[in-house]
């Protein structure tokens, strides 16, 4: 593996020119939502464990399990070393002047050792990513169950140089197909289906909507994969750049795949631009493994308009990465309009 990679790096492929970033769900990518709460200084440190216990029984803060109850005060010169969350502002009894005694029922918590309350803002939901965790922690100490893969992926460091070299090669094939389609007056979009374990290209397709309005590159590619497994319902034989490899190896049989045509189970798709709604859902139906795309599209359904791969109600979810050969894929779309008008002029 290694020497091959070095050769790639030195010659055709400059894998340093692009970074693949994950397209995460809205929950994972949104800003940290904050909620107001009352905190109070613990003036007598010795009372801390009793206070926490008693506060927990009166105000358990059930929806804020990710928030630490007590925080250390870092500023020098403050009269107290610790602060404790008392309750959410929304839970507090309605009153004009807030005092520690008005917040605490006389029989529940002894307010000895607590100072006067003040309002703080704490993260409303558990952080899902390291950036969210770092933001949340600026407001109040928060616990975080880190998904290491997401953290590494968000830094753009998930894929090793040999992996990137292969991704580069697959997207180059998609780019080549896109250009071949463009030559024929189609939209400049190419797609490549890959068996990642075998490191093998199963099918290559380009946009063919000149003769069928729904033959987007992804749909073409899915049908070519079906053909590679003895199915399929179209012939793309007149397009030399649309190809498939006949199935000379057995796919790992799993219970689901044996009775159902979830033909893309475990496969990776490389496509030059973000799939539309139809294509994205076609990938869900086909149980795609992962999708890599070069550049976003206006009505894109894997990040831009929808994130169909993270849609809660759907029965199949998958990982999506964008930015593979982003520049080259973007250029493809930019020249696309120009070429299309040229083609129309010629055909008139």
């Amino acid at each position: 593996m290694e020497p091959q990679t070095k050769r790639w790096k030195g010659s055709v492929c400059d894998t340093d020119s692009w970074v693949a970033y994950p397209v995460l769900s809205d929950e994972q990518s949104q800003d940290v939502e904050l909620i107001e709460a009352f905190a109070a200084p613990i003036v007598n440190k010795k009372e801390t464990s009793r206070l926490v216990r008693e506060l927990n029984s009166v105000y358990p803060l059930n929806n804020l399990q990710h928030v630490k109850r007590v925080r250390a005060v870092k500023e020098k010169g403050s009269g107290h070393p610790l602060e404790v969350l008392v309750c959410l502002v929304s839970e507090a009894p309605d009153m004009k002047v807030v005092s520690i005694d008005s917040l605490l029922p006389s029989d529940g918590v002894r307010s000895d050792g607590l100072g006067e309350p003040f309002v703080v803002r704490v993260p409303a939901r558990p952080p899902l990513t390291r950036p969210q965790f770092e933001l949340a922690s600026k407001h109040w100490p928060t616990s975080f169950h880190e998904d290491k893969q997401v953290t590494v992926a968000l830094r753009g460091e998930l894929f090793s140089p040999p992996q990137k070299a292969r991704m580069h090669m697959y997207m180059m094939s998609a780019l080549t197909a896109a250009k071949a389609g463009k030559e024929l007056g189609m939209e400049a979009v190419g797609a490549v289906m890959v068996h990642p374990v075998m490191e093998r290209i199963i099918a290559v397709g380009h946009d063919c909507r000149g003769d069928h309005p729904l033959h987007h590159a992804v749909m073409v590619c899915i049908d070519l994969v079906a053909r590679s497994q003895g199915g399929g319902c179209y012939s793309f034989d007149r397009y030399p750049a649309c190809t498939f490899t006949s199935d000379t190896f057995q796919k790992v049989p799993d219970a689901e795949a044996s009775s159902q045509p979830y033909i893309c189970t475990g496969y990776d798709l490389y496509v030059t631009r973000e799939p539309c709604v139809m294509c994205a859902m076609a990938l869900v139906h086909s149980r795609i493994g992962r999708v890599f795309y070069g550049t976003a599209s206006v009505d894109g359904a894997l990040g831009t308009k929808y994130k169909i791969h993270t849609q809660k109600d759907l029965n199949h979810r998958f990982e999506v990465y964008k930015g593979v050969l982003g520049k080259q894929c973007e250029d493809l779309n930019n020249v696309d309009d120009h070429v299309k008008t040229e083609h129309l002029k010629k055909s008139r």
């Binding site: 069928h212 309005p213 729904l214 749909m219 899915i222 049908d223 079906a226 497994q229 003895g230 199915g231 399929g232 319902c233 219970a255 044996s258 009775s259 159902q260 045509p261 979830y262 033909i263 893309c264 539309c276 709604v277 139809m278 859902m281 076609a282 869900v284 139906h285 086909s286 149980r287 599209s297 206006v298 009505d299 308009k305 929808y306 169909i308 849609q311 109600d313 759907l314 029965n315």
Partner: protein, 183 residues
């Protein structure tokens, strides 16, 4: 949506009698499919007073998971146009789809892409529905995905649901082997 075609599409709308008549045919198709152990979805594309596309789910035989009834019917419509040398777009813009179950997200997007103006359907599709159940693709603001379409829903919905339930009961997970057809 503020497209210039919108006005034209608005004026095209099936009458009550048409809905009744074509949905009856769609339900007959679905029943027939159910009796043959296939996904009980019936689907017709009607242009003027003619059925120009008729589909049933062909996912298993093609190994292509996108071969839903709507996609199959749509291919027939395209062939119909080709054989009569008619412009696909102007035919699609005056064609109605009658289907017993709400089209899925993929099919809803496909119907937008071909600019079909009206979809009449029976029951909701809670798992994949693209006309409001999971996503509302039919009316979403997607400027590069054709035109929005109108939905007329709920026609014989209970019956459509019953057929699906019966089908999924037959597709028992305890029977992992693919069904062999007794012809």
């Amino acid at each position: 949506m503020g497209t210039e075609e919108a006005g034209e599409a608005e004026s095209f709308y099936p009458s009550e009698e048409e809905i009744e008549k074509w949905m009856d045919s769609a339900f007959d198709m679905a029943k027939d499919a159910l009796e043959n152990g296939e996904v009980p979805v019936g689907c017709l594309m009607v242009y003027g007073d003619e059925v120009v596309g008729k589909g049933r789910n062909e996912v298993n035989e093609t190994k292509n998971a996108t071969r839903h009834a709507e996609m199959v019917a749509l291919d027939q419509l395209l062939d119909w146009c080709r054989s009569r040398n008619l412009d696909t777009r102007s035919v699609c813009e005056r064609t109605a789809l009658y289907v017993t179950v709400e089209p899925c997200i993929m099919c809803a997007a496909a119907l937008r892409l071909i600019r079909l103006p009206v979809v009449v359907y029976g029951c909701r599709n809670e798992r994949f529905g693209g006309c409001g159940s999971v996503l509302d693709v039919s009316s979403a603001n997607l400027p590069q995905t054709g035109t929005t379409f109108k939905c007329v829903s709920g026609h014989r919905a209970d019956e459509a649901v019953e057929m699906l339930k019966t089908f999924y009961k037959q597709e028992n997970p305890n029977a992992p082997k693919p069904k062999t057809r007794k012809d």
